[in-house]
Symmetry: C2
Subunit: 352 residues, 2 copies
DNA sequence: TCTCCATATTGAATCGATTCAACGATTGGG
DNA sequence: CCCAATCGTTGAATCGATTCAATATGGAGA
């Protein structure tokens, strides 16, 4: 007690019972006689015992009851990026329901990342935005805890992944617009990892580092070809998923002689920036230009007009990811979930 | 090793060194001879040892290197509410810099809350939105870890709190509008905890449960009185900080014979909803109606027009809160930080 | 050759709890 | 009145690492 810190053993001794009994008083009250229980609790209160310390308990139990969500982006990413937020909201809901804690893991530099991954007190990891983050996967694997990657499209099939069918989703988006009658398209791509921002040569884009981007682009092209539209005739502009690069892309696009009537954006974030750019320039959406996004983040529904987009089954993704970690039942291979088209106000037939 | 789990002790035995040395190989490599170090590392690799397990390490070390952020709201709150997000972003940045982890703590019901608070593996807690959450404070205090409450205005001075000067901030907001020439005001209040939503009698509002709301209201009134405006003449509408209740309040306000020319919103969220309502009804902001918010969330800057608001020093709040927990140097009493007026496009002199 | 010192390694204690086989006390039945 | 079953309690082992006083080793200086 001189330690300033009261341990279970102190309480046990003071109450004149064994440590085992004291432990039972807190962990399995029903097994100890009421009289003794009362006495121990009274002693505990008297001594100012704060209850069993998790550090000891967990060492014994082996499980922490928390999952780590890791990303190569800075920690703030979890609270700023719409997709990450939407996903975290769902994950949070699942965790809430199962009484599981969430620990956020990230780092500014590679060295700290390693340390943070290794020192996180969790039962497993969910990895976000893992493209180009081979190192994150590698570090996590070394930790030898269950983990599952989200939105990874890498070739390494030894990594458990829950992904979505980017190709089919993108095709769905393009087909939707082509069905409406559009023939002049432009693609606003996501390219975060060093690919040149700006107009991209057809061949180059297909070699994009990020398989998410690549698949979506392939999907767009595949669907457009069904309508006889040459891939080479569809300009693809890389963006950094931020306002300035989207603005730059649109500046270039609408300086062309025959600007597009339909914009295929690889993320809702890009699509929303694009809609703002268009509104500021006096273009009507969907009257002059139709815009379709990807992800279906909450903002897509509240924007005006509402953004037509491809919805990811975030609920399902979150549920599967969390239960995979908690249940230890990692999917054998890569799981791919289906996406759906959500039609809102941002798409319509082109001005005839 | 039959356990399927390799421990440090196993590695030590296999490498033919003492456990102490093996521990040093990982924790303080410089202290062990290179030759031995190599051998131990090789053995570790061979056995598939994943590195020192945090559970053991932390038991010994006593500190977890993570802080818990707790709230009575559901977990999703951290990712949805603009103020919470803005704050979390700052906290995340501070934690990033110091290599500290973040654990989110919340719960659907009181019972789970207790369990989650008690079982969170953290060195201390930051409590969010603690008004009305006496139970959260009580639970946290029982845990006997350092904690600090944010945005609490309760009377209990034994609770360490970092707060802001709501009264001065509100006064600043009202004075700003009055200086511009406005004389017809309305207040959109935050009242989440059971206070009647809708028009509020003057006396009743002052008795609001939430001291944040109360102080802001007091501040508004105090400043307006300096300009000879009767508190009783300023309608106060409670809202639930969501769109529908804000819409309802505005419906009522603008059905009055002489609607306000200036709106004092107790949060940016409310203010932004109000601006959307006004835009939808054809009112020009700031031409017809001026709007001022409170908090200065990121959205305030990107809205159009930009929202004039009272900025909380979130950086400072986050920095102090985190270092208070980590350094164990809790402020003696309640700390109150100053706020500043950020003038953007949503306020202007009234139409003459 | 012997002493002294610096450096590397060992072994045991420790952190704070849980668990479980074994033991002691009651109670009911025969 | 004895035996068995029941229930509560004990004591020691365990979880996986870190730490530190004590010891072993090797080299330099006298």
């Amino acid at each position: 007690m001189a330690k300033g810190h009261v341990r279970l053993a102190d309480v046990a001794k003071a109450a004149g019972v064994s440590q085992g009994t004291a432990s039972n008083v807190f962990g399995r009250p029903e097994v100890v006689r009421e009289e003794v229980r009362e006495r121990v609790l009274a002693t505990a209160r008297e001594l100012g015992y704060a209850g069993p310390d998790m550090k000891g308990r967990l060492l014994r139990a082996g499980r922490v009851n928390a999952i780590g969500v890791a990303s190569v982006e800075p920690l703030a990413y979890f609270f700023e990026d719409p997709w990450a937020r939407a996903l975290m909201t769902k994950i949070a809901a699942v965790c809430d329901a199962t009484g599981t804690g969430i620990a956020l893991v990230s780092a500014q530099n590679q060295q700290k990342l390693a340390w943070n991954i290794n020192s996180a007190l969790v039962d497993g990891f969910i990895l976000l935005c893992v493209e180009g983050g081979e190192r994150l996967v590698e570090l996590t694997r070394r930790r030898q805890l269950p983990f599952i990657a989200l939105a990874l499209g890498g070739a390494d099939t030894s990594i458990p992944v829950i992904g979505i069918d980017n190709l089919a989703g993108a095709a769905m988006a393009a087909r939707h617009l082509a069905d409406l009658g559009h023939r002049r398209f432009a693609v606003l791509a996501i390219d975060q990892f060093g690919d040149p921002v700006g107009a991209t040569a057809p061949g180059q884009a297909a070699r994009s580092l990020k398989s998410t981007s690549r698949d979506r682009l392939l999907g767009y092209r595949q669907a457009l070809e069904e309508f006889g539209i040459e891939p080479a005739s569809v300009p693809v502009h890389g963006t950094r998923n931020d306002r300035s690069s989207v603005d730059a892309a649109l500046d270039a696009l609408f300086a062309m002689p025959a600007p597009p009537t339909a914009i295929l954006a690889m993320s809702d974030r890009i699509a929303l920036f694009a809609m703002q750019w268009l509104a500021a320039r006096g273009f009507k959406v969907p009257g002059d230009v139709s815009v379709i996004g990807f992800d279906d983040v909450p903002e897509a529904a509240t924007a005006s007009p509402g953004l037509t987009t491809i919805a990811q089954p975030l609920d399902e993704i979150a549920r599967r990811a969390v239960s995979a970690i908690l249940g230890g039942a990692l999917p054998d291979a890569q799981e791919t979930l289906d996406v759906t088209l959500v039609s809102r106000g941002s798409t319509a037939p082109p001005r005839s």
